[in-house]
């Protein structure tokens, strides 16, 4: 279990968590990168800026 850096909700973590893995917060949906595993540290994943092309 870790806390989402965006919305503060609890994020359940699976067992074989690996550093660098991306998961999304079920509350706010933000993509979180696993920075460290022991103890687990999450940060906002770098986002591919989606450009609508204008």
């Amino acid at each position: 279990m870790a806390e989402c850096v965006e919305c503060g909700a609890d994020v359940p973590l699976h067992d074989d968590l690996e550093s660098g893995e991306i998961i999304d917060c079920a509350t706010c949906g933000v993509e979180l990168e696993v920075i460290d595993v022991n103890p687990p540290v999450l940060d906002r994943a770098p986002e591919l800026e989606e450009d609508w092309g204008e």
Binding site: E6, C7, G8, A9, D24, C25, T27, C28, G29, V30, E31, E47
Partner: protein
């Protein structure tokens, strides 16, 4: 579906009989659909003047299975609950009949939403039974849950008002807004908001593909919003090319700086336990903020926000299905609360994906 136990219990205490007035209309049709799939209600009467004696399936093709036929509205049976889904002005003319024929009356029009005759006169055309205004409870359970149990006259909110109020309410509740700030509300709505009577502007030809300012200023739902949130709003509504859906974008400027964390706290504290509100603010994928099509056909509201650091603006998005959370669904939800049923009874449909423009 954990509902099986409640459903069974419900059926054993036998369903309440209901009348739907205005059942050939859009919200009336939704009421028929919801009530006939509801474990605690059964439809005894569905009125229509134009289609009296015809099957409800001849108007609402999704209800073709049922044998139910429309009856005239001037010939009301005694029932437990009556839902009125008529244009504003009709219910207030008939409210005494309605109350005589049913213990609980839920009205979907604007007739009993405001608190005073003066307010009604300002935004509408003169009230014939202002004495009921005080008694009536505004339906929206997220705000009026405590006042609903036992209510005998319930007024379901306006669709655009509901969308706007659900979006802004947590900011007031958390003290982020006080009521003195500038609030711009820019709303986009689907064609079913206009009801079932045809007109030139609402023909497929003229209404397809539009972004049409239909209420640049002075929309009547301002009255409800301002009454409930105790603030004034700058409200503009646009018609866009969808059938169901109301989407409110509120641009607000809190006096003190707020963080994303403050906002999440405010919204989670109001809505985390709410069965029909989903917070959608950022995230990944195609659906990152509230959208009407993600809630179409359901009683859900999506609410979300974004922070504009450059100028201290908070943008709040809220999306509902105008015929569900914006009227018939809200009415059934409120009736569930008023009558002590499971809140989500009859309202479990989760919507579709993929989906076009429902």
């Amino acid at each position: 579906m954990a509902a099986a136990t409640e459903e069974q219990t419900a059926e054993s205490v036998s369903a309440l009989s209901t009348t739907v007035i205005g059942a050939s209309g859009y919200t009336g049709g939704e009421l028929l659909r919801l009530l006939s799939g509801h474990p605690n209600f059964e439809v005894a009467q569905a009125t229509s003047r134009e289609y009296a004696n015809k099957t409800v399936g001849s108007v609402h093709p999704n209800l073709r299975g049922t044998g139910l036929r429309f009856s005239e509205p001037d010939d009301l049976d005694s029932v437990d609950v009556l839902f009125a889904a008529t244009p504003h002005g009709v219910s207030m003319e008939h409210v005494d009949e309605f109350k005589e024929s049913a213990d609980t009356v839920v009205d979907l029009s604007a007739d009993f939403r405001l608190e005073t005759e003066a307010e009604y006169d300002e935004w509408y055309d003169g009230h014939v039974c202002p004495e009921y205004l005080d008694e009536a409870v505004y339906a929206l359970p997220e705000i009026f849950r405590e006042e609903l149990p036992g209510a005998e006259l319930i007024a379901a909110g306006g669709c655009n008002a509901t969308a706007t109020i659900l979006g802004l309410y947590p900011l007031f509740d958390a003290g982020i807004l006080s009521g003195s700030e500038q609030i711009v509300v820019d709303v986009k709505v689907g064609s079913s908001e206009g009801g079932a009577s045809p007109s030139k502007a609402s023909s497929h030809v003229e209404r397809s593909g539009i972004v049409r300012p239909y209420a640049p200023t002075g929309h009547r739902h301002e009255a409800e919003i301002e009454a409930i949130l105790d603030t004034s709003v700058s409200f503009t509504a646009h018609a866009v090319d969808m059938v169901r859906g109301a989407s409110a974008t509120s641009h607000v400027f809190p006096d003190s700086p707020v963080s994303k964390g403050d906002l999440w706290k405010a919204y989670r504290s109001c809505y985390e336990e709410e069965p029909f509100v989903r917070l959608v603010a950022g995230g990944s994928g195609v659906y990152r903020y509230p959208e009407p099509k993600a809630v179409a056909g359901t009683n859900n509201a999506e609410v979300g926000f974004e922070l504009d650091p450059s100028n201290k603006r908070v943008v709040v998005f809220s999306a509902i299905d105008n015929l569900m959370k914006g009227s018939a669904g809200q009415a059934v939800h409120a009736a569930n609360v008023a009558l002590g049923f499971e809140e989500t009874a009859g309202l479990e449909f989760q919507g579709l994906h993929p989906v076009g423009s429902p």
